[in-house]
């Protein structure tokens, strides 16, 4: 019995790799099993950052051509390794690439996989909590058969390390195989541009913004949150921002985890666009504004005072 964690990298290890290692460590401890890590990439420089999770060993498959995710090779490496180690639980990340990776490995190993977990724990076996019905319902899933896999939703788990040392690194070469899928190009969007409809957090401004010269106030909050910038039709109509930012019935329908409406009254035509958002925060100086009827958390106040405070607080707390 052992636990294996898939350490996702993009150049360096991604934050979600640490989160997955943290979760895997907790599980391993609870089950009294050893924890192993697997790294696939150009070269693992920061094994020391994996200290504090109780990880015995990390298997590092290093090769220049392994820098970018290649499903076929990544999958077969993990497949082989898991068999070799007799892994009972494999933990990955539910990132865009991680989900595909986990699903492929689970298929090869013919084991169950619970994707996008918010929490996993050990209770006479492996338990996982994950959103279903697009987040409208939370499911508590019991994994009956092991081996099994779980993938953790990024940015949910708080990483806390104990005193355990960094894992030993066992370097391994690249398996010889020619993948059928060829990476032709990798394009990274310039930092700070988040597509509205896919953003996890959206900050929107309305007529309350008063003019196009005030966008920086909201942009600062967007930057602090890694959020996309939205707008009400009033702001678009006034020519303060392009229509592609419009959220609403005749604009875009967004489905972020967090939607922050600043200086927006919350008219039905706007509401239609933010309806799928999980949490809605309204900031408006008018306590009667309808946004307070349709949000989860409201702050009555001048956005020019509240928004900068909020950006600062977030930067402080989430640093």
């Amino acid at each position: 019995m052992s636990v294996l964690v898939l350490l996702e990298q993009r150049g360096a290890l991604k934050a979600c790799a640490h989160e997955a290692a943290m979760v895997a460590g907790t599980l391993a401890r609870a089950a009294g099993a050893p924890l192993y890590g697997v790294y696939i990439g150009k070269s693992l420089e920061e094994a020391s950052s994996l200290a504090g999770f109780g990880m015995q060993k990390v298997f590092a498959y290093e090769h220049d051509s392994l820098g970018h995710f290649c499903g076929e090779i990544y999958t077969s490496i993990v497949n082989e390794l898991a068999k070799e180690l007799g892994s009972t639980v494999i933990v990955g990340s539910a990132s865009a690439l991680g989900k595909e990776w986990c699903a492929s490995v689970a298929a090869r190993l013919d084991v169950e996989l619970v994707q996008d977990c918010l929490e996993v724990w050990w209770n006479n076996g492996l338990m996982a909590r994950k959103p279903v019905y697009a987040g409208k319902v939370l499911a508590e899933v019991r994994v009956i058969n092991t081996p099994a896999m779980v993938s953790m939703r990024p940015n949910v788990v708080k990483v806390e390390r104990d005193a355990s040392p960094a894992p030993e690194v066992e370097k391994r070469g690249m398996p010889s195989s020619t993948p059928r899928v060829v990476v032709k190009d990798v394009a990274l969007a310039p930092a700070g541009t988040v597509e509205l409809t896919e953003a996890k957090i959206v900050v929107s401004g309305g007529r309350g913004l008063g003019g196009p010269e005030h966008w920086p106030v909201l942009q600062a909050l967007c930057d602090a949150l890694g959020a996309a910038l939205g707008a009400s039709r009033a702001a678009v109509d006034a020519g303060w921002i392009h229509h592609s930012h419009q959220v609403g019935q005749t604009g875009k329908v967004v489905s972020p985890d967090l939607y922050i409406a600043c200086g927006i009254s919350g008219a039905i035509q706007h509401q239609a666009g933010m309806r799928p958002a999980k949490i809605i925060v309204g900031i408006n100086k008018d306590p009667q504004a309808n946004i307070f009827n349709v949000c989860d958390y409201g702050i009555v106040g001048d956005l020019f005072e509240i928004v900068p405070l909020l950006a600062e607080e977030i930067r402080k707390v989430c640093a």
Binding site: A234, Q249, V253, A267, I268, A272, R275, N290, V294
Partner: protein
């Protein structure tokens, strides 16, 4: 018979041949349309023709109509003399003198009308070439057409006076009598046999040219307008869109994608256009510089009809030279229409430009699935959750709980079904109106219930976007539910629901007595069941198209306003009211071209300096509210008539605002 007489006979025959050949062609064109011309109740139709045609009541709704009235009747009066002149041209010396006093009367009238018509022509010329109101601005061809007609008539009348001056006829003819001394002084003598003959010829030739010219010009309406009034399609009138048969065996095409798919009445319609431009003047899309002009729609279809028909008459399956969409009616024209029906109301010959557009929309949506993406979102939402915002259907009746309003499922033994509508169920702002209505009804002791989650969108927007399929499903579903509860009377707080339930649900077996909330509230006031206290506010009321123009409900909302404040009318009001811009599914589409209709209307409202603005429709409320905000006048309170009344009746504000 003289040689001259013979020549005239030849001319008369030739002119009539050309005339009738053209008329025959036009009749055949119209017969390419579908179905037959509606002809039930001939006596009512005759009455229509007498009042609207000969009485010119539709034309006279505008001051410029007086000119037309004179020319119209002048035409008949002068035709009498024209006929006499033509016969006299063939049989010299002929006259209607044997008609005795009638002859005297007609000569008198001719003398008078000659002058009046000249006056009207002068005004017409002035309006077309000097003043040029926007509605009369037309392409060069159309302007020349108008000019030719004016000149022809003017020449005709000049020749007429010249003849009468030279050869007086019995009658009280002050105009001729006044002109005669001047004529004598200019020409030096009173008798001009040669002159008379010349003018006689001129007159006859001009008359015959006119005859030939009529069916080729906009004056085709001389021939088609009266039949168009006679054959009015009562199924279509007042904006009703008849149910399309979607299940017809062998039907492969729905809506209008070819000119010949229009009904014969539709085609008769387009040939009857007088190019007066009244429709265009009333059109909110045109007014805000969108490419749509109902006049151009009609004229475009007319030109297209005449262009395609020769080939089609030879071979019914001939491929069209131009596609109806997008060559004749282009995309931005098609979708700019708010279905406000101002054009149809304005048209003096009852042409229905809007329904021509709806037919094409149906083809675009049903046959191609081609319409604005934003509107697709709305219709998909309607399909799944039965409301355009995609909010949960289950929450539809949530507003009612706190007020103790029951659903029919809980208690079907009520007098009225309160059909709330989507906005009234989900739009927080309009939910306040819903609550105000519910509280007023409770106050007045009216027994009513709602359908709650069983209520569906009525499909008004879907229907007017052209999605007949979805609209029919929704209508049927609602009718089935309502009939299931044995509903007899319906009150609705939305003019769009009102119009659909009242005028279109009967097509699905749903026959109810339908009232708008303002109607019911006004009636309750009259019965003394509601006792509002008059307040001091000056209220400006904006007529909803679907309540007012579509269904003639003008007075009920005003009565309710008058009971709670003073009423101030807008410049464009009642049947002339200017659309808010939301009808025809425009509520679900971006308005990217030209100005914003709601902002134009809001400017008109702001101009009359209201203390309160009142509406009676959820779409109007959103549109005017947005418009006032854009014009930086969010300070003007905007309320539904029911809210004003609720305040005046002392209904606790909290009930209405929070429903708690």
């Amino acid at each position: 018979m003289t040689l001259g007489g013979l020549l005239l006979v030849v001319l008369i025959v030739a002119a009539h041949a050309v005339f009738f050949a053209r008329v025959y062609f036009i009749i055949r064109c119209i017969r390419l349309g579908q179905g037959s011309l509606p002809a039930a109740f001939p006596l009512l139709r005759m009455k229509d023709v007498l009042v609207k045609g000969f009485g010119q009541v539709l034309v006279l709704r505008q001051p410029a109509g007086i000119g037309h009235f004179l020319i119209f009747w002048g035409f008949f009066v002068l035709t009498y003399g024209t006929l006499e002149g033509l016969i006299a041209g063939v049989f010299p010396g002929f006259s209607f003198a044997w008609m005795g006093p009638f002859y005297w009367l007609m000569n008198t009238l001719q003398d008078w009308f000659g002058l009046l018509v000249m006056g009207a022509l002068a005004v017409a010329l002035y309006r077309r070439f000097v003043w040029r109101p926007r509605r009369l601005q037309a392409s060069l061809a159309h302007t020349i057409d108008a000019l030719i007609i004016i000149v022809l008539i003017a020449v005709l009348i000049k020749a007429f006076y010249a003849m009468r001056i030279i050869e007086p006829k019995p009658g009280f003819t002050p105009v001729t009598d006044m002109l005669r001394p001047w004529f004598v002084s200019v020409t030096g003598k009173a008798a001009h046999p040669m002159g008379y003959a010349a003018f006689h010829w001129l007159h006859n030739v001009v008359v015959l040219s006119f005859l030939v010219y009529i069916p080729f010009s906009k004056h085709l309406h001389l021939i088609t307008a009266l039949p168009n009034l006679y054959f009015r399609d009562e199924k279509r009138i007042a904006g009703r869109i008849p149910k399309l048969d979607l299940e017809a065996e062998g039907m492969e095409s729905f809506g209008i994608s070819k000119i010949t798919e229009y009904s014969r009445k539709d085609l008769l319609d387009v040939t009857a256009c007088t190019e007066c431009g009244r429709c265009q003047e009333a059109c909110p899309a045109y007014f805000t510089n969108k490419p749509l002009s109902p006049k151009e729609v009609v004229l475009g279809l007319k030109a297209h009809l005449f262009e395609e028909c020769p080939a089609l008459l030879r071979d019914r399956t001939a491929a069209p030279k131009k596609a109806l969409y997008p060559d004749v009616i282009e995309k931005d024209v098609l979708w700019a229409c708010t279905t406000c029906r101002a054009c149809e109301e304005a048209c003096p010959v009852e042409i229905l430009p809007m329904s021509k557009l709806i037919g094409i929309r149906q083809a675009r949506v049903l046959m191609e699935g081609d319409f604005a993406e934003e509107a697709q979102t709305a219709l998909r939402n309607v399909e799944t959750q039965s409301n355009p915002w995609g909010l949960p259907q289950e929450a539809r009746g949530a507003w009612a709980e706190a007020l103790g309003v029951k659903t029919l499922a809980e208690d079907a033994n009520v007098d009225y079904l309160f059909f709330v509508g989507c906005a009234g169920s989900y739009d927080q702002r309009y939910m306040q109106v819903t609550r105000a209505v519910a509280r007023l009804l409770q106050e007045a002791g009216v027994s009513f219930g709602i359908l709650g989650a069983e209520e569906c969108c009525t499909g008004d927007s879907a229907k007017r976007i052209g999605n007949e399929y979805l609209a029919q499903m929704l209508a049927q579903q609602n009718v089935d539910t309502m009939n299931g509860y044995g509903v007899k009377k319906v009150v609705t707080a939305c003019p769009h629901c009102y119009n659909t339930i009242k005028n279109e649900f009967p097509d699905y077996g749903g026959n109810y007595e339908v009232v708008h909330h303002t109607e019911l509230l006004a009636a309750l006031m009259q019965q003394g069941k509601l006792k509002p206290k008059q307040g001091p506010a000056t209220v400006v009321y904006h007529d909803s198209c679907y309540l007012g123009r579509y269904n003639g409900v003008f007075d009920a909302p005003r009565a309710a306003i008058l009971a709670s404040g003073t009423l101030k009318e807008l410049l464009r009001t009642r049947s002339n009211s200017f659309c808010c811009g939301a009808g025809g599914g425009r509520m679900w589409m971006e308005e990217r071209i030209g100005g914003r209709i709601n902002e134009e209307r809001s400017k008109e409202i702001i101009q009359v300096k209201p203390e309160v603005v009142a509406t009676a429709c959820p779409f109007c409320m959103t549109m005017i509210s947005d418009g006032l905000k854009s014009e930086h006048r969010a300070d003007i309170p905007l309320k539904d008539v029911a809210e004003l009344l609720a305040e005046a009746c002392g209904i606790v504000k909290k009930d209405v605002v929070e429903g708690e």
